[in-house]
Amino acid sequence: MADAAVTAAAPVRPAHYGSMSRDRRWAMRWSYFFLVLFAIFFLTPPLYMLLTSLKTSAEISAATNPWWVFAPTLENYVALLTKNEFLVFFRNSALVSVCVVTVTMVISVLAAFSLARMKFWGSATLATGVFLTYLVPDTLLFIPLFKMFAWFRDLTGIELINHWWTMIILYPTLSVPFATWIMIGYFASIPKELDEAALIDGAGWFQTLTKIFIPVAMPGIIAAMIFSFTVSWAQFLYPLAFTTSSSELLLPVGIVTTLIKGDVFNWGQIMTGALLGAAPPLIIYAFLMDYYVAGLTAGATKG
């Protein structure tokens, strides 16, 4: 371990600072020590979810050592994965998330390009103001939204309440501001010479965006996409408020409202559901995290 550290450090600076490498070795040991400590803190609840999901409800009620599974079983997984309802939640959540990510990226890339590069009357205010939309919490908005939806229905005959796809309209309000902000930061970091050259060559603004900015800003775009996905997968209040039928629920709300039955918590299944619900974002992060960090590095630090 220590060796690796020295070699990693070597190309950057000359190795003859003896005191420094000793310093670093100690710093390293402390780093690992604290990282293990924090990993325990961060991973205990998910681990406990996993343990509980492998228990039968009789074992859970028996109040024996909760940190051990005496009779592991997959019955909770089987029960959930063969339940049509649960698969429907999963499908709804996946569709909503994919659509929300798409919508978010279209809106925020266009807006960020225009705010970072083109400027118009009030664009500076808007760039700051976008972030401030988070000041208006969703708990304040959902009741007025009911009234607006009712009005919209009376006007057009389209019912927005109790449909999963309504979330595709609502979630961007939560994902777009942050995504736009990351993209503004990222676009701002692209040298001006690049787009000036493109414009002189006769490219339109839109072409400049699609041919130059989007390819260059790909890490930022991926970071923003992952962020939007996380937000839309996890959102709780809007689907809780706006959907009731079991064919229209999204995963987190579906698990909380169909598996928790007031008096009779079925903890094995609840934890299984929670774990399965957490799986897609976990998988996505496992594969795309490098882009996420890279995108944030460039986008966030310059915003």
Partner: protein
């Protein structure tokens, strides 16, 4: 500005188009059109309903009469309201400070270790932020359960009596804040890690040559370089934490008594559960000015710094 538009208009003159087309080709018009979806989204789904909520907050309980600031006056006289104000501030400020500190420390440690191992650690430490909070809070709820608490099971082995995790005001506040820190700290970690990576190594080398101790390097090099990102992340987190609904809702529903009610949960209690929608709207409205003040401070700081550089 001018030098960028010049080549653009040169292109226009050559191709001889109608005046409407010219307008459409003008940079500011295109820019506005590109930002239009964003403007519409925010105007229709945030600004308009927020205005509607303000109007709602000025109606009486049955929503049949305009009462002006009557609901606000009513709230100011309620002890519970001031408790909620205090708790929300306590909750948000404590949680954000700890999230920021833990995030900073962990980011530093991850940054310290060889880059080969960083991926793995980063992945593990990001897990709490990735799990939907409504799901992970269920795991905490189960860990805190009065009859089956797995924490108390461990503590019992050390002879420590059952801790009423959610049963006593102090413990319950601790538990709610703890879960929030748990869920939010990784976000800070990842943002800080991103910022740390953008600090040029030369600065550290220079500091090292000057004989700076590790804390001096952090204080004089790292922190100033990360100032913006710390401010923005803290602001974002402060807003989200202050308006938190799901964690508190699932964990304590505001109890015991009203010891862990936040603006959002209390607004829900008053507005939905007790059927007083205007009063609920009034309660949630209070979040906006408090947050706006915080935002103004933090953003002003950033802008000042931005113009200096």
């Amino acid at each position: 500005m001018a030098d960028v538009t010049a080549p653009n208009s040169a292109v226009l003159v050559q191709s001889n188009r109608s005046s409407l087309h010219k307008l459409m080709q003008r940079k500011s018009t295109i820019a506005f059109l590109m930002a239009l979806p964003l403007i519409l989204l925010i105007a229709i789904l945030v600004v308009y309903p927020a205005g509607y909520a303000i109007w709602l907050s000025m109606l009486n309980k049955s929503m049949s009469k305009f009462v002006g600031f009557g609901n606000f006056e009513f709230l100011f006289k309620r002890q519970t309201f001031w408790d909620v104000v205090f708790q929300s501030c306590l909750f948000a400020i404590t949680a954000v400070i700890f999230k920021a500190m833990i995030g900073f420390v962990v980011a530093h440690f991850v940054h310290n270790i060889p880059s080969k191992g960083q991926r793995k650690w980063r992945g593990m430490l990001l897990v709490p932020w990735v799990i939907p909070p409504a799901m992970s809070t269920l795991a905490w709820l189960w860990l805190f359960d009065p009859s089956y608490s797995a924490f108390n099971w461990i503590l019992a082995h050390f002879g420590i009596g059952p801790v009423p995790w959610l049963g006593e005001a102090g413990w319950a506040r601790f538990a709610v804040i703890l879960v929030n820190i748990w869920a939010g700290a990784p976000f800070f970690m990842i943002m800080y890690l991103a910022a740390l990576k953008s600090v040029p190594d030369q600065l550290y080398e220079a500091a090292a040559i000057d004989g700076a101790a590790w804390w001096q390097r952090i204080w004089y090099v790292t922190l100033p370089m990360m100032r913006n990102i710390i401010a923005i992340t803290a602001l974002f987190s402060l807003i989200v934490t202050f308006a938190n609904f799901d964690i508190t809702r699932v964990l304590t529903s505001g109890g015991p008594l009203t010891a862990t009610h936040l603006f959002a949960t209390w607004a829900f209690k008053v507005g939905i559960e007790s059927g007083d929608i205007p009063l609920g709207a009034t309660v949630s409205l209070f979040m906006v000015p408090i947050l706006a003040v915080a935002a103004a401070f933090i953003l002003r700081d950033i802008n000042k710094r931005g113009s200096e550089v």
